[in-house]
Amino acid sequence: MKKYLLLFLLALLLLGFPLLVDNDYFIHILVMCGINIMLVLSLNLISGFAGQVSMGHAAFFGIGAYTTGLLALQDVPMWVAMFLSAPAAAIFGFLIGYPVLRLKGHFFAIATLGFGEITHLILNNWMEVTNGPMGLSGIPRPEAILGFDFSSKSHYYYMMLLFIVLLVYFSLRMKNSKTGRALMAIRTDEITARSMGINVTYYKNLAFIWSAAIAGFAGAAYASFIQFLSPETFTTSTSINILTMLLIGGIGSITGSVLGGLFITAMSEYLRAFAEYQMLVYGLLMILVVIFAPKGLNGLVEKGIALLKRR
């Protein structure tokens, strides 16, 4: 009962937030947090559940964003363009995952790294389509729906909130299903999983395609919110950023993914004055987390709760 009460209060807080805080800048940061949380949750499917580190997630983010942007600039309705971004990214996920996920070990990390670099180079150099380094500008807002016309940032806030709730629900369902258990078996020991009759390649691909699709959709959300795309947003350092968020939040944990995305995005916003030192702090945090707190923020929170309960 207590759990539901807490959940209800949390929902109330999240829904009422833009009404309480009438600060455009603050809402903007929260929407960016939301986009990053979507990305981290998508990465968690393949890197957290299935244990395959993807170093090129920004590529799917970029493919989704550019699909939306390019279609929208061809006068395709914005919502249609946004929902097409997921299958577009998923197709690339399949193309890269199908050959490479057969292999065991680190090949997947290197291949996705290479894929990320290729995608960035193509976005940057294919002038005729992507407009190169100048990027795409003038991407329209989504069409008005259910009284939301997206003229104010808080409308985007509610859109992101809806997406994240759906995504958390999806992740939970996946984790507690046959697929999730298969993925966790693969993460623990691939050979054992195979000998238990789990189709390792199939499940890894399934996780990766979903992961790519969701990252692509996060890209669509980004394109519709920022309304401008530059290839520099979709570099390997973005991929590493997403990975950092996942790690600091707690790899494999849904709560951790949300916490990591929220924490790092908010922190980098408020540490903007110390931008020079910010990356240095990230690097240190990464090493400290893997050595001393391999379960990330989520692990620390859980430990704290356990300590409180014991009293």
């Binding site: 680190h106 790294l113 670099e117 090493i287």
Partner: protein
């Protein structure tokens, strides 16, 4: 024809550079089953140390190379002890992440100290032009190829013929069995980190006068070195040498005869093709993994 020869020399410059960077990486990959994303940063740190020695302390370029190599070798050992050694029993993913952390720290530390702008490294060979049958060869490029060849030859000899080298190869092939044979694996790992770091620093300092020196130069070096490692097969020293030269030549021909924007794409396309058709590398045999 002359253009082709010129391109070949340029390709060898890039190739020998890739070889120097990839040698340490492939050995460490083989030994620890670890993707060391900090490896390219050692190349960058090496270049900056040499730059500081030459422009700040008035060292001559030729002397600065071995000094930078020694400094970076010590650096490599320190990094191994602080960031990688505590994780020796952890998940392999943790090692990867830790190396990413080290890479971010090094990159930003250098950016803080020296600033983000590219700098030029003076070299006595840069202005020398050697005429050879109608070809104009830049002295620095020739110097890079020669020095790299010497380093690669020495390393190859050490690894193939000496006791330490055999121990390294044994560790890269099978760490557990190597330990059982009485090899002090920890010592060998440290040594490999030192040698790998020194070679990466050599690559950085050699290439610095041709291209400029900037804090993010290590990131691309790491990625390219991974391509070489995959081409040659993990832990395979001979493979890395051939793979590096192949990559350097192919890239340079592609830039010269096709498109310089897309030359980096070729490297990654090669890599993905290798992963598709010869995942054990061009010279490797596919081995079925056992429990």
């Amino acid at each position: 024809m002359i253009e082709f020869l010129q391109q070949t020399i340029n390709g060898l410059v890039m190739g020998s550079n890739y070889v120097l960077t990839a040698l340490g990486l492939t050995l460490i990959f083989g030994m620890l089953d670890m993707l060391n994303f900090a490896h390219g940063e050692l190349l960058m740190v090496g270049a900056f140390v040499a730059l500081a020695l030459v422009t700040g302390l008035g060292f001559s370029y030729v002397v600065a190379i071995p000094v930078a190599m020694a400094v970076v070798a010590i650096f490599g050992v320190i990094i191994q002890r602080l960031a990688f050694h505590p994780l020796r029993n952890a998940d392999r993913v943790s090692l990867l992440v830790s190396s990413l952390g080290v890479s971010i720290i090094l990159q930003n530390l250098v950016r803080l100290v020296w600033g983000p702008d590219p700098r030029n490294m003076p070299s006595p060979f840069s202005d020398v032009q050697i005429q050879l049958g109608g070809m104009a060869l830049n002295g620095q490029r020739l110097f890079v190829v020669l020095v790299s060849a010497v380093f690669i030859a020495i390393l190859y000899y050490v690894i193939q013929r000496t006791k330490v080298g055999i121990a390294m190869r044994a560790c890269a092939f099978d760490m557990k069995t190597a330990r059982l044979m009485g090899i002090r694996a920890n010592k060998i790992i440290l040594m490999t980190f030192a040698i790998g770091a020194a070679l990466a620093a050599a690559a950085g300092t050699l290439l610095a006068p041709i291209f400029s020196v900037y804090p993010t130069m290590g990131a691309m070096a790491t990625t390219k070195a991974f391509v070489v490692v995959l081409l040659g097969g993990i832990g395979n020293v001979g493979g890395a040498i051939v793979g590096g030269l192949i990559l350097g030549l192919v890239e340079t021909y592609a830039a010269g005869y096709w498109s310089s924007e897309y030359k980096d794409v070729i490297a990654f396309v090669i890599m993905i093709l290798v992963l598709l058709f010869k995942p054990a590398g061009l010279f490797g045999k596919n081995v079925q993994e056992k429990v």
